[in-house]
Symmetry: C2
Subunit: 358 residues, 2 copies
Amino acid sequence: MKKHILVIPGDGIGPEVTTWGKAALEQIADAFGHEFSFDEALMGHASIEVNGNPLPDETLEKAKNSDAILFGAVGHAKYDNDPSLKVRPEQGLLKIRKELGLYANLRPILLFDELLNASSIKPSILKGTDILFFRELTGDVYFGEKTRSEDRNTASDLMIYHKYEVERIAHKAYQAAMQRSKRLCSVDKANVLESSRLWRETVQEIAKLYPEVETEHMFIDNAAMQLIKDPKRFDVVLTANLFGDILTDEASQIAGSMGMLASASVGDGTGFFEPIHGSAHDITGKNLANPLASILSAALMLEIGFGLKEEAKVIIDAVDQVLKEGFRTNDIADGSTNPYKVLGTQEMGKLVLKFISQ
Amino acid sequence: MKKHILVIPGDGIGPEVTTWGKAALEQIADAFGHEFSFDEALMGHASIEVNGNPLPDETLEKAKNSDAILFGAVGHAKYDNDPSLKVRPEQGLLKIRKELGLYANLRPILLFDELLNASSIKPSILKGTDILFFRELTGDVYFGEKTRSEDRNTASDLMIYHKYEVERIAHKAYQAAMQRSKRLCSVDKANVLESSRLWRETVQEIAKLYPEVETEHMFIDNAAMQLIKDPKRFDVVLTANLFGDILTDEASQIAGSMGMLASASVGDGTGFFEPIHGSAHDITGKNLANPLASILSAALMLEIGFGLKEEAKVIIDAVDQVLKEGFRTNDIADGSTNPYKVLGTQEMGKLVLKFISQ
Ligand SMILES: CC(C)[C@H](C(=O)O)[C@@H](O)C(=O)O
Ligand SMILES: CC(C)[C@H](C(=O)O)[C@@H](O)C(=O)O
């Protein structure tokens, strides 16, 4: 198979981890005889530094002309500390999501048995958890109109949904539920928000088209609680952009660490694959970041982007094997981890490559 | 001390649990020679059934003329299943918050040592956690304009903040931080939302007035994760209405159960005291609800509403004692609980009263 892949390392630990996601793809291409070509582009703070724009046209052009995108992270402390800055790294990420029509963000909560103890949640509560989140990604309060009054004392963001936006992601989530255990939980705040009431009505309608799937509706506050109280009660979770942002970060504790979770954003065109973790400026450049989320993003690209299930499984198995042999990065090491087996970003990356090639 | 207290039991398990919060107040009045008089009023579904209005003028009038309000919960499955219903129980709660100017919702995460094992989170992670949430309660997307297009296919809610709204709750949170460990974490989504940028700018300004307090700003997605990863890193948490709704429900797992947490809403006038749990229609009328959150709401009323610290402590100590003797309601029983010590709502309520009077 011949594929052209755009790598957008972005900011903070983005470049350090994306190196290993890309290397995993190269290794797979070698092993299976695929031809993957790569290009690279700027986004976020890295791009603002060079050309004042978090998403230059050149990056967008390259993105549209590639078969898949491997992304790192965007964000920088400078902007977090100064809310008044007009040009911001995250605008690049939001714009590329919108421009590529990436309305469905899939976040599988993949729990490696070896990491049962790395979580703050009890292993007995976690064991057997397997959740697939569908987060809507191009609507909601992320993209509604923003205002700031002239005296700067009032600010607003419009939380808005159109029925078709709910329908298309609901279909994707129900289709996935049909392939899994036929349970779907839709999360909203319909007891307070009109946009959530539209969300719930629409999901109720789509649910009728998938009568085999058991649908549950849950309020976001309750869901945030249930997710740690009893994660096994969830299978496919369908939710809006903002609620999905919050729930999936929270759910990263199920997998032991944000450093383990990958996501796939799909929709109208080129698919976009990235770790769910952020730019983590506090550990940038220290060889401390966990490269596994980027490596697992590569696996998602193979499976969801290119339909290469076997290849994806080789990567996941390699990660599993590394963990089984007791190797950990700092974020997933627990008290019982042999200190000699706690690896840096590079050492972990290399080890996974070794297992992929075996 | 002479006080007039309005009891609003509301819906679902509201009446069953509020009985015990009220009884605790009566017991305290007896023991300490206070004169507490009580009245009762309707709200939510219970009120809609009688007069078609989730918050009748009579209830509001009584509320304004009382020294404090003990509230249960509102909500009913009927409305959750039919998002198109125009008159809804929650409107009563939102309206009374607004009308009474209850802009600051204090939610202490009080962790009883005896319940360390009742949580899904590891005891080693929880031990020593003591968080006080300040949730803004009369602004945000809860109260911004709601629209629905004529074809019903587009719906919106305006997420909006005015600077003075952020300032007044920030002051309250910083004042509390000064009395505690002088650490405050403000939670927002300033990397995406304009209203969050106003929030962050304003908190940065107020922070300068409290130079002894160490301020941290955190994004909501990260906060939802950190809260279970390392709850001890938080002390005072300051956040907006919607984010506070989500975070505090999630945080209930720290205390072992939603059934343990009370909240105090204060602002311009009469204080409002309630469990953070909802109406829980699934267990209504089954003698299964945990009355401790309502009893602890009574303690918050005594402490925050009336400045009666000693009296509040008597209630908290009684709850502690009951737990120490091994008694549990269903929601906080763990595998090791002696089955004979798992009590119903009424038995638990009576037992706490007995310990209060000792
Ligand atoms: C960086 C930020 C804009 C982004 C989001 O909120 O969507 C991130 O948190 C994510 O989840 O991908
Ligand atoms: C019932 C509902 C409107 C309410 C809220 O969202 O504020 C509840 O969840 C709470 O936290 O008090």
